[in-house]
C-alpha cells in the first residue's frame, strides 16, 4: 500500500502536448478512477505512473520516492491491461507465476501466492488451462490474478472491462469492488464509462484534453459539477443544456422569464432528466411536443421538442401514459438547476 502523488506532470509527443501539468494526490488505499472521453490523456497518465511512458515534466511520487526515472518493475505497481495481455502460450498457472519466476522468487512461495490468488478469484479449476480455453470473464480474472500475486503497492487498471459484454461487466465490476475492500490496496482505474467511475470510485478524476476538470467523490461530481463538461459527462442520463440569460436578475430561457434569481453573467443552464417533473400547464416552466418515448420498465425517458430550446429529456419513474406527438408540460426543480457562464464555470447557487 502506498500513496501516489502527481506534481505538475506533463507529457509532450513532439510538438503535441498531451498532458498539461496535472496535480493530484492519491491517498493510501484509495480507489481513484480516471474518467474522460477518448483522447483525454487518461490512459497516458496511467501509463506514466506505470513507467511505460516517459514523463516530460513534473514529478510522480509513489510512497516518498520520485519514480520519474525508476524502471517500471521497481515501482511496486501491477497493471491490468485492456486486452488482458495474457501470454497465450502459457497455462493460467504460469501466466500468474511468470513475474515471480523472473524475479527469482522461491518455488514454494510462488506456488503459495498463485494458489492464494486463484482461490480469491475462483480460478482453481482452470490453473492448468491455456488462455484460449477460457471465457472473457475468466481471462479478465487471470489478468487480475497476475497483478495480485505480485503483492503490489499500487494496482493500475487500464479499461479492464471494456472487452466484456454488459452482464459480465456488471459482475466483474462488483468483483473488483470486493477485491479493493479485501486487499485495501491503492487502486487507479481508467475508464471512459461513467457508470464504472460512479460505482467503483472513492474519488473520480475527470480529465478532458489533458487537464483535470474536477476531482471529487462520485456524489460531489453528480450534485455539484465544477463546470459544464463535468456536468455533461457524469450522470446516468445526459444532462439537458439550454441557452439562458438574465433579465432584471431573473432567469430567462428562450421567451420565458422564470421566477429564479440569477446573476447577470449566466449564459447556459443544465438540468438532469431526473430533476424535471411532468406537471400541469399552470405549474409548468417548459412545454413542448413529445418526440419519442423510451420505456425501460423501471423508468421512462420522454424526449420532447420545445419551440426555442431544442430537444429536452425528462426521466419519469415507472411507466408513463404519455404518447408521442402529445403536448407535454414540465416543471424544473430549482435547487437542482446548474448555471454556467461564458467560461463554463458553475455560477452562484440559485435563489427564489
Amino acid at each position: 500500500m502506498s500513496n501516489v502523488r502527481l506534481e505538475n506532470v506533463s507529457k509532450t509527443y513532439g510538438d503535441m502536448k498531451i498532458i498539461h501539468g496535472v496535480d493530484l494526490a492519491i491517498n493510501e488505499g484509495e480507489f481513484v478512477v480516471f474518467v474522460g472521453p477518448s483522447g483525454c490523456g487518461k490512459s497516458t497518465l496511467l501509463r506514466m505512473i506505470a513507467g511505460l511512458e516517459d514523463i516530460t515534466g513534473g514529478h510522480i511520487k509513489i510512497g516518498d520516492k520520485i519514480v520519474n526515472d525508476m524502471p517500471s518493475p521497481q515501482r511496486g505497481i501491477a497493471m491490468v491491461f485492456q486486452s488482458y495481455a495474457l501470454y497465450p502460450h502459457m497455462t493460467v498457472r504460469r501466466n500468474m507465476a511468470f513475474g515471480l519466476e523472473i524475479s527469482k522468487c522461491p518455488k514454494d512461495e510462488i506456488e503459495e501466492r498463485v494458489n492464494n490468488a486463484a482461490r480469491i478469484l475462483q480460478l482453481e479449476p482452470y490453473l492448468n488451462r491455456m488462455p484460449k480455453e477460457l471465457s472473457g470473464g475468466q481471462r479478465q480474472r487471470v489478468a487480475i490474478g497476475r497483478a495480485i500475486v505480485r503483492e503490489p503497492k499500487v494496482f493500475l487498471f487500464d479499461e479492464p472491462l471494456s472487452n466484456l459484454d454488459a452482464a459480465l461487466r456488471g459482475q466483474t465490476r462488483l468483483e473488483i469492488a470486493k477485491l479493493h475492500s479485501s486487499l485495501g490496496a491503492t487502486m487507479i482505474y481508467v475508464t471512459h464509462d461513467q457508470v464504472e467511475a460512479m460505482t467503483l470510485a472513492d474519488r473520480i478524476v475527470v480529465l478532458n484534453g489533458g487537464r483535470i476538470e474536477q476531482v471529487g467523490t462520485p456524489l460531489e461530481l453528480y450534485s455539484s459539477p465544477a463546470n459544464a463538461f463535468v456536468a455533461g459527462f457524469i450522470g446516468g442520463q445526459k444532462m439537458n443544456f439550454m441557452p439562458a440569460s438574465s433579465r432584471d436578475g431573473k432567469l430567462q430561457l428562450g421567451q420565458r422569464v422564470l421566477p429564479f434569481s440569477v446573476s447577470s453573467s449566466v449564459t447556459k443552464v443544465g438540468i438532469r432528466p431526473e430533476h424535471l417533473q411532468v406537471s400541469t400547464p399552470e405549474d409548468a416552466h417548459l412545454s413542448g411536443r413529445v418526440e419519442y418515448v423510451e420505456m425501460f420498465g423501471d423508468h421512462t425517458l420522454i424526449h420532447f421538442e420545445t419551440e426555442d430550446l431544442g430537444l429536452i429529456t425528462v426521466k419519469v419513474e415507472d411507466s408513463s401514459d404519455i404518447k408521442e406527438n402529445e403536448p407535454i408540460y414540465v416543471k424544473l426543480l430549482a435547487e437542482r438547476l446548474h448555471l454556467f457562464d461564458d467560461s463554463g464555470r458553475v455560477h452562484d447557487a440559485i435563489s427564489h
Binding site: P73, A78, F81, A85, P88, F98, M130, K132, S135, G137
Partner: protein, 273 residues
C-alpha cells in the same frame, strides 16, 4: 449445401489419374529399384540381386564425410540466419524507422537478381577475408537469405501484441527475457519456416561450395553427387541411386520435425473477450 464427394469416376478420369501417377512415381521407383540392386545398370528393371550394399557405401568413407559436411553447412546456415534475422527483424518490428517497409522491400527486390551476377565480388570478398572455406559458405548464404527472412520474421513479430511485452516488462522481465519467454515462443511458426527454408536451401546449395571449397574433405553432398557421375570411370548407378536417397532424407526429416510448429501460428488469444 455440402459438396458431394461420392461422385463416380468415369473410366477416362481413372485412366488419366493412373497416367499422371505413373509419370510421378516412375523416377522414384527407378531410384528405389536401382538403390537396392547391387548389380544396378541404370535401367529400370526388376532388381537382379537385392541388398543394402549400395546404401552401405553411400553412408561410409568419403560419402559419410560429405553427409557430415552438408549437415554442418545446413545446420550452421540455418542457425546463423535465425540468430541474425530474428535480432534484426525484432528491431525492425518494434523501432520506428522512417520508410522501413520500403527499405525492406528494396532489399527483397534486389535479392531477386540472380546470385550468379554477384558471384565474382562475393568470391573476392571471401578470398581477401580468408573465408574460402565452409564458414565462408555459411556466411554468404546467410547474407543472401536475410532479405526474405527479415521480411517474414518482421511480419511475425508484428503480430505479437506490444501489450504482452509491456506486461512482461512491468513484471520485471529484461529485454532478453521478454524475447526468450514471450516474443520468440509466439513466433515459433515463423522461426520454423525460416529455419526450414534456410536449412534446405543450404543443403541443396551447389555453386557456393564449388567455388569456395579448396579441398575434397570439405565437399558437401551436392558436390559428391556431381562427382559420382564421373569420378570412378564408369558410373555406379546403384551407388548413385542410394546416395540420392540419403541426400533427400534430411530435408524430408526436417520438414516432419518442424511440421507441428509450422502449423501452429499465433492465434490472437487474449484480445477478444
Amino acid at each position: 449445401m455440402t459438396i458431394n464427394s461420392d461422385q463416380k469416376h468415369t473410366p477416362m478420369a481413372t485412366l488419366a489419374l493412373v497416367f499422371v501417377a505413373i509419370i510421378w512415381i516412375s523416377p522414384f521407383s527407378w531410384l528405389f529399384v536401382n538403390a537396392v540392386d547391387t548389380q544396378a545398370t541404370g535401367e529400370l528393371r526388376w532388381p537382379q540381386s537385392i541388398g543394402i550394399g549400395n546404401f552401405v557405401s553411400a553412408m561410409s568413407g568419403s560419402a559419410a564425410q560429405q553427409f557430415m559436411n552438408s549437415m554442418i553447412l545446413a545446420l550452421g546456415t540455418a542457425t546463423m540466419t535465425i540468430v541474425v534475422a530474428a535480432g534484426a527483424a525484432y528491431f525492425l518490428s518494434r523501432v520506428y524507422i522512417p520508410g522501413k517497409t520500403t527499405i525492406l522491400w528494396a532489399l527483397v527486390v534486389m535479392r531477386m537478381m540472380p546470385t550468379n551476377g554477384v558471384l565474382v565480388p562475393i568470391y573476392f570478398t571471401a578470398e581477401k577475408s580468408g573465408l574460402l572455406n565452409p564458414l565462408g559458405v555459411m556466411i554468404a548464404l546467410t547474407i543472401l537469405n536475410l532479405p526474405f527472412t527479415l521480411l517474414l520474421l518482421k511480419n511475425f513479430f508484428d503480430t505479437v501484441p506490444l501489450e504482452l511485452e509491456e506486461a512482461a516488462h512491468v513484471e520485471g522481465a529484461s529485454l532478453w527475457e521478454i524475447l526468450r519467454h514471450v516474443v520468440l515462443p509466439l513466433s515459433r511458426a515463423g522461426i520454423a519456416v525460416v529455419w526450414f527454408f534456410s536449412f534446405t536451401s543450404a543443403w541443396n546449395e551447389f555453386l557456393f561450395p564449388l567455388i569456395f571449397s579448396r579441398t575434397d574433405s570439405v565437399f558437401p553432398m551436392s558436390m559428391g553427387l556431381y562427382s559420382a557421375f564421373g569420378e570412378h570411370g564408369a558410373i555406379q548407378y546403384g551407388f548413385l541411386a542410394a546416395y540420392s536417397i540419403v541426400y533427400a532424407i534430411p530435408a524430408i526429416g526436417v520438414y516432419f520435425l518442424l511440421r507441428r510448429n509450422m502449423n501452429t501460428g499465433f492465434a490472437g488469444v487474449g484480445v477478444k473477450g
